[in-house]
Symmetry: D2
Subunit: 460 residues, 4 copies
């Protein structure tokens, strides 16, 4: 043969699902992985030489918010930051300003924005309105949402409403007709509200009060109510973010009873503690809040025991102004940035705990892709999958929030200044380099919408 | 010796905790059981000859309402009916009209009425107000309440209020300082209200809609929320009436996690089904409602597996007028009479299922006495216990509601006309005959208040 | 009435199955317990005043050897010692010299000796010959044996043979037709023999070698083989003496699989350790041997967890000469005396561990009676049961082997000189005092054979 | 680049460990898999086009006998038949005639024969003599045996002896120092011998008596004794062939207790029943014998539940003469041929049960390779592994024993005439074609000894 069969060959230590293949190469053709090998690589039109570095699957962030603070224009910056962080698929939440994704029409509008603005691929959650438009669920599924999101807690009556028990049940029954998962923001409204009122009334508004007004039982009570409805309806119900190991135990307990239940951890619950909100003030506020160091240990035990569905960021790039603590922690927006620091931080935490780097590929790429019905197109380095790749250089690198590739006022991070054990040296989206370690090379619109690939469910 | 040591000797087949002692006798001295034997009885000033009949411990009805419909004056009739039914200890609910038992002062007032009106002994539950006066809990305990009762569902804002999550938690924390049990009326307010509104709005107000608007999940969701708070607080939390076997399974599951959880069945959930509310209309309405025949089977399986704390009546002698269905089941009062039929019906159900009569003594005397801290003074025929006795004649007897020994408008029963396998031939309260099979021999005031005997808890 | 209904009244603190009734009395009529009470006792022809002492059910020693060393004449001394020890029922092993109880004819001969010689009541095990006469099993059952005994280990080819796997299976199949239990001496022949040969060959014949040549695995392997045959045949198979907590765990494991398996501890395995055989030399030799202090702790944990069927003595009154160590532990007879020290030692061990005295009644009277089908005639102070009673005086008393009421050369004990927390102040057999704390009052022949009372099995 | 990087490219539908990659290719370089891909393959010096066929990893037969009947010369024919059957690694038993592999010297002699005679690669078991030469175990491990084999049953005192309990324990203790597995032939000698004697004595020597004299309990009793010794010693103990699902359950039970236990099925136990020995007579005799159809179902349930370590053949190519039934089944040699039919039969059984073909790769290549410490060199199509491949053509093909590529008198099979759902179209050993669907292309000596690759254990 006279012509090379591959568009590009990428060299490096490949992090496959079950091992690291040292001195490996990936042959890319037509945006996908066409071959995997070791030794001398076949000829290709282009060779990307990352020998000595880890080549991982591009991360799939299963839980993030591009548009919850600034509307759909936020897609542009958030996905640029994703590209710089090696996240090649953003599974975006539906709680958008001013219009959450509650029907097929709105989804269509958002898809248009995705196609104009996204730097990486995006999958989308759908949701329903507070008044319970479950009749729009089927249309959202047809149009390709990968999953749904609902809440037991009302952050905002329009954007992020509490869905009451009767409506929740109806929604679960409708979603259960598909195998799609519904992720639930899990906090008990009545407890949080009362404790917050009491704190405010007594003038206790300093940062730690954010933790005190949302104690662990506010989460576990919400977990139980959604899981009982899961058991009743057959719907796959998923804790959108468990800050507690108990959340995963409850999911197991209900699965043993025949329910389809699961849960995810966000990376902050694997490293941050109550001390950190005292230190970070508003920039450490998220819901659920940080817990104790003991709880962090229990969370890792859950990870090691295989109980954690996947690890995400809950990335929410609030304008810096909205995060500044001015004496009242309750007035600050809840949510953290996390996408650009995601890969280095996971690598760091795994290394500190002596866990293999394959867990990074599993917990933050393959498993979220499976939960959201995007696997095997997304989530792993396998022949046939999209050639989405994250190249990591090991070493000691300080994470600098000023280098976040989002709009200026989103360049803050709870991890600012932290020493990481690696950095993202390159990112490839479907075979094309979109980050070279210094610049985002992709243009807005390089990313595409990834509809759910199939109707098979996955419980982990 | 020249004088008989016993005040009275009672002859019959004695139902002891673990067996039936045929041809036995009980020697009573100073209101208590002083000896148990067989064969020729020792001399006594009086001999009550029930040879050929079953002599059981007087029943302890762990859940009943003397005063929820007509106020404390209801004590008189309800306890007279108890005497005629062989119930020698009424554990009375605190949801009294017009003043529920929410502090020591009110309890004092109720105790005065008990001492004036009661025909049998009474133990009393305490409760709190909707606004959460947990500071009164310690006083109620000191004054001798045996247990507490709270609700997740609001039947009446004053008499029978929903206690919200924050208040419930505070109450549990306070009660947990003692080993007392708190029984919870377990229905999810939000689900029941919405389903009821929808039914009313669509004009569906016939009897079966009472079941349809309170489906099983309304109970199990309430069970889970109270049990999670039990786990959090260490408080002994008890389902006041589980109409579902799942309630007992959940109690076990939480116990396995270290919580102190339990539940009771009411007798109606061991025999009545949805068909019965269609037949009985308003006279078959209670909360939770009757379930399916399959569920009744599961309830008995739970009984056999030893999962059911005890069996009670939830006796609530509404005036007949309040129970009459006039086209709107939602307008009817919820609650059934059941005390006078309790012993014959339990005997009948056990016999139909081939279960030993010792279970009647265990489930409706010894175990409720243990749960409420009244054992060993109450609940079993043992040397040293109060000589409270229920004498049953086996045979076929039709239960006639007109013979209920309560005020005239409380002489109705869902079991009216049912053929029973036995009848209450006599009742003894602390050694004194108070029912002879035809007449209540006790006068108002014969009954006494039984304070909780000790601080030991009992989980079954 | 002018005449007392009771033959005798016995006063004391009664140890009932579930509690101690202080200041109680027992009314005896016609050899049985006719009444139990407190307070002033009814008149009786005779009053035995043990006020201030514990009145327990006479012990049932579920495993002992009257005739394994000296033949049936041993019944006389062994049962005299039983009377002095408060053991009112001896369940005697069939491994008699020179003729083990292997058919109905031999049983008849032994019964004759029992009626002539016994001071307390006796129930009897049957067995089979090494050559497998399973056809004689039915006759033994008809004639009243309570249980069977077989062995995986050959102590003597005639008296105490190893039954091989095929014969064991046939015997189990035959015994399974009844509900009788077969107790198995559980040691792996092949391991014990080889280890013993090796020890002898290397001249290691000092006392500790008895333990080293019978390590724990020799027991557990035997346990497994008999339990697998139990599962196969449906026969109730019982470890005749587990010196290991693992034995009880295995019994549970096989029960969970549907087998009918159980096991018993002998009292020596609850207090003696390897150090004791070093100290006692031949007088500390028994099979299985003493284990470690840690194992003793695990045994007690098994007792507390309710896993131990019952506690017996394995009493084997070898002539002193046969127990003397003269440089070769393997030449010494295996077996300990234990009946006269049984009650005081159990009381002492329970007290040292803070366990209630009701456990003595349960583990060494009620439960062995149930396992051997002798309950409720034997095993508990209950109305209707035989008035077999053990009266214990609490205090500090030194156990003196010279006071053992057996023939002279059987007056030795591994517990000689030990300080006990109580002594046997009196023993009653069917209402008659047979021991008054100083003298055995019964004559040979006072004891009777107690045939199995019924065919119901009991697994604990 | 001007030169092709691959020695050979092989095209087909690749059966990878977790999926089938349709239209794939494998690039071979230096005997190993250097790349895996789809689409147009890179240039190579040679292309083997199996498009439309399944390309599986060459099978690893974890249990087979080349030399148990005819001595080491049997290696030649057995491995030729392996090549024709797609088995590229034979894990050969040590029970060779006349000299079993009991020390390093004998192993050396056998290795010489392997290097002269083998057509496929071979790994070797070691064993010990009946007299217990455990001191030779370390040398065998050093010299590269992958595992050990011992027996509870004596087939032949020299070649295939019963190892008694004391010797077994010593051997386990020695082997436990490594992580190597010891596979045990599991039948209770005492039961089998007695039942066989009885059958012979009564003249019952027809084929079904082979099953009747080795009932299931003969296996399970042996399983228990070896597993208890596994628990005691920490040694990885493996049932060499469980014909019973219970064997796998016991392995699980002991693993849960901390033992290192496992078991394997042979393919005959997944399809043959007692009816088949009646039909096949001597040619259906193997130890353990075939079981019931119900047991076959339970075996498949165990396979589906992931309890079965791996599936092997126990291939034993007895001369035809030794298998002929002439009125006495006990006179016939025990063992079946099975290697050449292995792949087609597994494919057929999986297809009949609707199970994926990936299970063939897992159960008969990857898992045995892991158990024997040969993975990842052997057992799966992965970059870096030996390019051992089995090419299967789907279709309907009748299995004809005459085409077995062994010496003439080994050309018999219990599966003769059976319709298979596929045939072995080609076999590659380390990248070289050794079978083309018609002829064995390899010469004796093409195969190599594969020593154990590492000391890591694997329990499944």
């Amino acid at each position: 043969m006279t012509e090379s069969p591959f568009d590009r060959v990428i060299l490096g230590d490949l992090v496959l699902p079950d091992r690291v293949l040292e001195g490996g190469w990936i042959g890319v053709r037509d945006e996908a992985v066409a071959a995997i090998g070791t030794g001398e690589a076949p000829a290709a039109r282009d060779t990307a030489d990352h020998r000595g570095m880890l080549v991982l699957p591009g991360l799939v962030d299963g839980h993030m918010h591009t548009s919850s603070s600034t509307g759909w224009s936020g897609i542009e910056g958030a996905t640029m930051s994703a590209a710089a962080g090696g996240v090649t698929t953003c599974v975006d939440m539906p709680y958008d300003v001013p219009v959450p994704v509650t029907d097929r029409g709105i989804l269509g509008d958002k898809l248009e924005q995705v196609s104009r603005l996204a730097h990486v691929d995006m999958a989308l959650y759908g949701t329903i309105r507070k008044d319970g438009n479950v009749e729009d669920i089927a249309g959202l599924i047809e149009a390709g949402v990968c999953s749904f999101k609902l809440s037991t807690y009302e952050y905002d009556a329009v954007r992020f409403p509490r869905i009451d028990h009767p409506t929740m049940l109806r929604a679960f029954r409708e979603i259960a007709k598909s195998n799609l998962m519904v992720a639930i923001h899990n906090e008990d409204q009545e407890l949080v509200e009362r404790l917050t009122e009491q704190a405010k009334a007594s003038g206790e508004t300093h940062p730690i009060m954010h933790c005190r007004t949302r104690p662990p039982i506010t989460e576990s009570m919400a977990d139980l109510e959604i899981f009982e409805m899961a058991l009743e309806t057959g719907c796959h119900v998923h804790i959108a973010h468990s800050s507690l190991a108990r959340g995963f135990d409850l999911a197991e307990m209900f699965r043993a009873q025949g329910a389809r239940t699961s849960g995810e951890a966000c990376i902050q619950y694997l490293c941050m503690t109550e001390e950190d909100i005292v230190r970070l003030e508003g920039f450490g506020k998220c819901n659920p809040p940080f817990r104790t160091a003991d709880e962090v240990e229990r969370m890792w035990a859950a990870v090691k025991a295989g109980k954690v569905g996947y690890v995400s960021t809950d990335h929410a790039p609030w304008p810096r102004e909205r995060k500044q603590y001015k004496g009242d922690i309750f007035a600050v927006g809840a949510g953290l940035t996390g996408m650009q620091s995601f890969a280095p931080l996971m690598l760091t935490l795994l290394e500190q705990r002596g866990l293999p780097v394959t867990l990074l590929a599993s917990l933050s790429a393959e498993r979220p892709a499976r939960f959201h019905g995007l696997f095997p197109k997304k989530g792993a380095i396998r022949v046939g999958a999209d050639a989405d790749l994250l190249v990591m250089e090991r070493g000691r690198f300080r994470f600098d929030a000023r280098e976040i590739r989002d709009r200026e006022d989103a360049r803050w991070s709870p991890y600012d200044g932290m020493e990481m054990r690696g950095r993202v040296a390159a990112t490839y989206l479907r075979g094309t380099r979109i980050w070279d370690g210094k610049e985002v090379l992709a243009k807005p619109g390089a990313g595409r919408f990834v509809p759910r690939q199939h109707g098979d469910g996955f419980l982990g």
